[in-house]
């Protein structure tokens, strides 16, 4: 019997999943064979995490089948997935730090050690010790999770996932590894990979990582996803980084998509300058200049320091070294309110948390950052507010039933336009766009690009961090590449001089 004829350990067959305004998964079919490590790669928004959430029972598919050993099943919850032999090791480590290793390993499954409501701790810790041995970790299961380093915690999570073996009565396990290496050092990654390989006899793995080299190293087979669909299924032995990357991006850069013909040269006036800007634990010695009408894209992987840099500029984490000069004056942005007063506006990645007050109306959100200007004798000029908000709704083509509609009820694209309206209403001259098109569908993205082009033509300067390199390159006049908290590369990216993605990637990883 060949491997191919054996029943799959776990499959998704023609799975579809929609969220408001987004078709997140389109007829996705993925098979995981027993003892196989399957890599899953794709850009942010390609659908990897949705696949993982469906496999782990967090989301349910709108249509299509989930099959275990060839039989259709439903995974109603993470617990349900667990009982059917699907374990998870997540990027955000899920150990409870105030509990011991043993308590963590058997959290929620203490019943087997319990008699008359009393837990037999000696049995539990002895069993925990046996689980730890499976992953070759020699620590006291009575130690607190918070006293362990990240790598050991990761191993404990793996040991915890392996307890499912007992539950499924010797059945085959599938363990989902979602960005398990993001907080690990190279040597620790080697150990993790060695353990995973050693465990292939007991379990299959699905491995998601941003680092293509790691995916190539660990996986037997790789699925490439793009825009919610699987675009390739290939043996790792036949894949290489450039080929994978080409598959992930799909089309070559589409100038039209990013409204490149509308991209105007920026002006000479410097509106913001960083000189040796540093933040402990974030970034060091960052230099750049931002000009009127310029779009400065910052590229970098998770941990490169670019996220911290945008947060510093927005006032969430004031810099502790170097100089920041806005409008010719040295400033220290100690609070978002200070940033707003300086004409810096922040369009956050967490749109529904930091971008909007979901339970307030469109009108209240649009004027929130500049309410003082709408008052006379301390009272809000309600009629003028309404009129003003209506002009923004028209200018940015915000689709909302009325100015009084709660932002909760708008689609993601229209929510983002409300955030943009809020900042344009403050007459901010510098916009920090933190993943501005995250979670938006293609049409909404194009509308955002359109707005970005229009406002830069008026002289507003923009700093953007994007989910994709394609977007960074497409939008920007200048691209900085950050790695390990430092700017490693800087390049002109005006029309006609757009760098290729590979030119940037080599400086990113």
């Amino acid at each position: 019997m060949t491997i191919a004829a054996a029943p799959y350990a776990l499959s998704l067959v023609n799975v579809n999943k929609r969220f408001p305004g987004v078709h997140a998964l389109k007829d996705v079919t993925i098979h995981i064979r027993p003892g196989e490590v399957v890599g899953l790669v794709g850009e942010n928004g390609a659908g990897k995490s949705t696949v993982m959430k469906i496999l782990s029972g967090v989301y349910q598919p709108d249509s299509g089948e989930i099959e275990i050993g060839g039989k259709a099943v439903s995974l109603a919850s993470a617990y349900d997935a667990n009982t059917k032999g699907i374990g998870m090791v997540f990027q955000e480590q899920s150990l409870l730090l105030n509990l011991t290793v043993g308590e963590n390993i058997y959290l929620g499954n203490e019943a087997q050690f319990t008699r008359f409501g009393i837990v037999n701790w000696r049995d539990l810790y002895a069993a925990a010790k046996r689980q730890l041995a499976k992953v070759h970790v020699d620590i006291d299961p009575r130690s607190l999770a918070e006293d362990l380093d990240f790598a050991t915690r990761q191993m404990v999570e793996l040991a915890k996932a392996l307890t499912l073996e007992d539950q499924v009565g010797g059945g085959h396990l599938v363990i989902l590894l979602d960005e398990p290496t993001s907080v690990l050092e190279r040597a620790e990654i080697d150990i993790l990979f060695a353990r995973v390989r050693a465990l292939k006899a007991r379990a299959s793995f699905v491995f998601v990582s941003h680092r293509l080299d790691e995916v190539l190293e660990l996986s037997d087979r790789i699925y490439v996803m793009k825009d919610g669909a699987v675009v390739a299924d290939l043996p790792a032995a036949e894949a290489n980084i450039p080929a994978l990357h080409q598959l992930m991006v799909g089309r070559s850069l589409q100038a039209e998509y990013y409204r490149e013909p509308l991209q105007r040269p920026y002006r000479d006036e410097v509106v913001l300058e960083a000189k040796g800007l540093s933040l402990a634990g974030g970034f060091t010695g960052v230099d750049f200049m931002l000009h009127r009408g310029e779009i400065l894209g910052i590229a970098g992987v998770v941990g490169s320091g670019r996220e911290e840099l945008t947060r510093t500029l927005a006032g969430f984490a004031p810099h502790d070294g170097g100089q920041l000069i806005v409008g010719g004056r040295e400033v220290h942005i100690t609070d978002p309110a200070v940033a707003v007063d300086l004409g810096l506006a922040y369009v956050p990645r967490e749109r529904r948390l930091e971008g909007l007050v979901l339970f307030l109306s469109v009108a209240a959100n649009v004027t929130l950052a500049d309410l003082q200007r709408l008052t006379s004798y301390g009272l809000i000029k309600v009629a003028e507010e309404k009129r003003l908000v209506k002009t923004w709704i028209e200018r940015l083509n915000i689709k909302t039933p009325s100015v009084n509609t709660l932002c909760l009820n708008l689609s993601g694209g229209n929510q983002q336009k409300v955030v943009l309206a809020k900042w344009l209403n403050t007459k901010a001259q510098i916009l920090i766009l933190d993943h501005p098109t995250r979670g938006l569908d293609v049409g909404a993205k194009e509308e955002v690009y359109e707005i970005v082009r229009a406002i830069t033509a008026e002289g507003i300067a923009i700093i953007v961090t994007s989910d994709t390199l394609e977007e960074t390159i497409g939008l920007s006049h200048t691209v900085l590449v950050m790695r390990d908290g430092e700017v490693r590369f800087s390049t002109d990216a005006q029309p006609g001089h757009k760098p290729r993605q590979v030119d940037l990637i080599q400086h990113m990883v």
């Binding site: 309110a337 909007l356 007050v357 929130l368 309410l371 809000i380």
Partner: protein
């Protein structure tokens, strides 16, 4: 399952339920006791509601923030003691002193909350203890009756203007000012924004800590005003004068439809809630319910009202 509180019209139901409840209660009590609907009785109802409303109006701002002020009744009692002790020497200045102490107590609660990042229910509970002990110590643990001569200073509370009791006018002025503050000023808007989505308010440049402190000052100041008014009405000051008012005040806010989780609410709703509490109280008196048993009802009403006003489909975890 679509009940009136979870279905598509849930928001509208929630908005109108308090007013409908008030009307129904008044009709029920009016049928049982027709004199209840006489103008004189209604004026009495309004007078009785004023102090409760002033307390509730102040704490409405804090609740809309998503916080709570548990120091209301201690502050009101302390204010009554301060007035009783100083009105002979300071005259009208005693009111200013009492209300000023309210502002300072609110400032302290607010600062402890935002600077030390202590939850407001702890800071105001602690401040409440401080205020209560202060009132006990300075009053010599007794009730202080206002002298005949001192009562002239209370005319603005106890007197009538064109047949309308002063206490109603004070309550009405508080209603108008608090309503404008809540619905027409940046302060009111920021309070709602912070309560509904603090991270977004902060990211929009709203000085969140400052406005939180303002809300606590306002709450405590109005509590002190309520104590001053209560001292006038009862012609005495005592460390336990407002002892049973915390629960009804918070119940009034929540019964009116202001969400205990913050963000949603208004002074107008708090007025409706306060009237509901007053009508229930009077109705219970008509029914012969022991006055000391009334908090059994208010406690129950509070829990039911919170259960109805929170839309749990939007709030998965409640601590």
């Amino acid at each position: 399952m679509a009940t009136p509180f979870t279905g598509p019209n849930a928001d509208r139901t929630r908005r109108w339920l308090p007013l409908a409840t008030l009307v129904i209660l008044m009709v029920v009590v009016g049928v049982m006791q027709p004199t209840f609907l006489y103008p004189a009785t209604l004026l009495q109802l309004a007078s009785d509601t004023a102090v409760l409303f002033i307390l509730a109006a102040g704490v409405t701002f804090v609740i809309m923030l998503g916080g709570i002020d548990l120091s209301l009744q201690s502050m009101a009692s302390l204010a009554s003691v301060v007035v009783a002790l100083t009105v002979a020497q300071l005259g009208y200045g005693s009111f200013v002193l009492a209300i000023g102490i309210g502002a300072v107590a609110g400032l302290l609660s607010g600062l402890a909350h935002v600077k030390l990042k202590v939850p407001s229910f702890i800071t105001t509970l602690a401040i409440s203890g401080v205020l209560f002990s202060t009132a006990l110590v300075i009053s010599g643990e007794r009730s202080i009756t206002l002298g005949e001569a001192d009562r002239n200073y209370q005319a603005w509370i106890t007197g009538s203007f064109f047949g309308i009791p002063g206490v109603i006018i004070i309550g009405f002025v508080v209603f108008v000012l608090a309503s404008v503050l809540q619905s027409r000023t940046p302060f009111g808007r920021y309070i709602a924004a912070i309560g509904a989505g603090e991270p977004a308010a902060y990211a929009s440049g709203v000085r969140v800590s400052r406005y939180k402190v303002y809300a606590f000052i306002l709450s405590s100041t109005l509590a002190a005003l309520a104590g001053v008014v209560l001292a006038g009405r009862l012609a005495s000051g005592s460390p336990t004068l407002a002892a049973e008012m915390l629960l009804p005040s918070i119940a009034a806010v929540v019964v009116g439809g202001t969400a205990i989780t913050g963000g949603v609410g208004s002074i107008w709703q708090t007025l409706v809630g306060s009237l509901i509490i007053s009508v229930v109280r009077i109705g219970m008196t008509f029914l012969g319910v022991n006055i000391f048993a009334q908090n059994i009802v208010f406690g129950t009403v509070l829990i039911v009202a919170v259960a109805i006003t929170i839309d749990r489909s939007k709030i998965p975890i409640v601590k």
